[in-house]
């Protein structure tokens, strides 16, 4: 029996109280930048559907200094998302081959290979 237990309330700033939580918050906020970039792509799709002139204007906007900087910020966070996502995948999907667990590093490595392959295919398709 607890005569008078003392309850410590969690503070809104809880995630600032330990580096591991700050890193977690940064990891989670990568999705904000992924979402932001995809929203830009949606704008592009809408412009594409509006015809050549609208599309060309969209491409010009993509090349403006402010938008380039925004995209570079998104790129950094998107890469961090990829790195953290691949690192966590073996935890969520452990693989067993013939009763032997596949090492996590192999699963992660396979994702990096896939990442490279997809990137190369897209770059070629884009006209590199």
């Amino acid at each position: 029996m607890s005569p008078r237990p003392y309850v410590r309330k969690i503070q809104r700033s809880w995630w600032l109280h330990h580096p591991r939580y700050v890193v977690y918050m940064i990891r989670e906020l990568t999705c904000l930048f992924v979402g932001l970039y995809c929203a830009m792509l949606v704008v592009g799709l809408v412009r594409l559907a509006q015809g050549q002139a609208a599309w060309d204007a969209f491409l010009a906007a993509l090349c403006s200094p402010l938008v380039v900087i925004l995209q570079l910020v998104c790129l950094v966070f998107a890469i961090y998302h990829s790195v953290t996502w691949f690192a966590l995948t073996p935890k969520a999907m452990p693989l067993m081959i013939k009763d032997e667990p596949v090492p996590g590093s192999v699963i992660v490595g396979a994702h990096y290979v896939g990442w490279a392959a997809v990137s190369i295919v897209v770059l070629i398709a884009a006209g590199m």
């Binding site: 809104r12 995630w15 918050m25 989670e28 906020l29 999705c31 904000l32 992924v34 979402g35 970039y37 995809c38 929203a39 830009m40 792509l41 949606v42 592009g44 799709l45 809408v46 594409l48 559907a49 015809g51 050549q52 599309w55 060309d56 491409l59 993509l62 090349c63 938008v67 380039v68 995209q71 570079l72 998104c74 790129l75 998107a78 890469i79 998302h81 990829s82 996502w85 691949f86 994702h111 896939g114 990442w115 997809v118 990137s119 897209v122 770059l123 398709a125 884009a126 006209g127 590199m128």
Partner: protein
């Protein structure tokens, strides 16, 4: 306590996370680095032709819709972590915004 319908939200979140991880960086590289530097041109003819093809439509839709859903769900969970509440306002803002953007993308792709 009852079985949750969270999988409805979680499955596209997980798929979107993988698509975002594999595809989004190279797309940003193209539009944010290679295009401004002039290494790619992304001409209207080429891109419109790709988006006109049914498989092209599916790829473009997947590349945009799934990461948008991933972002919406994750932002909703993060808002809760940050003490911004988990109520209907946050849910509507997150899934609603993503939903509108996904609909806009679908609309554009149908026209193309």
């Amino acid at each position: 306590m009852a079985r949750s319908n969270k999988p409805l939200l979680w499955l596209p979140f997980a798929g979107g996370g993988l698509v975002a991880a594999l595809l989004t960086p190279v797309l940003i590289l193209i539009t944010g680095v290679l295009l401004p530097l002039g290494f790619v041109h992304l001409s209207f003819e080429t891109i419109a032709a790709f988006a006109h093809h049914p498989i092209g439509k599916l790829i473009v839709f997947g590349a945009v819709a799934l990461p948008l859903w991933h972002a919406a769900h994750r932002l909703r969970m993060t808002a809760h972590d940050l003490g911004l509440g988990g109520g209907i306002a946050v849910k509507s803002a997150c899934y609603g915004t993503a939903g509108l953007l996904i609909l806009a993308a679908a609309g554009a792709l149908i026209k193309l």
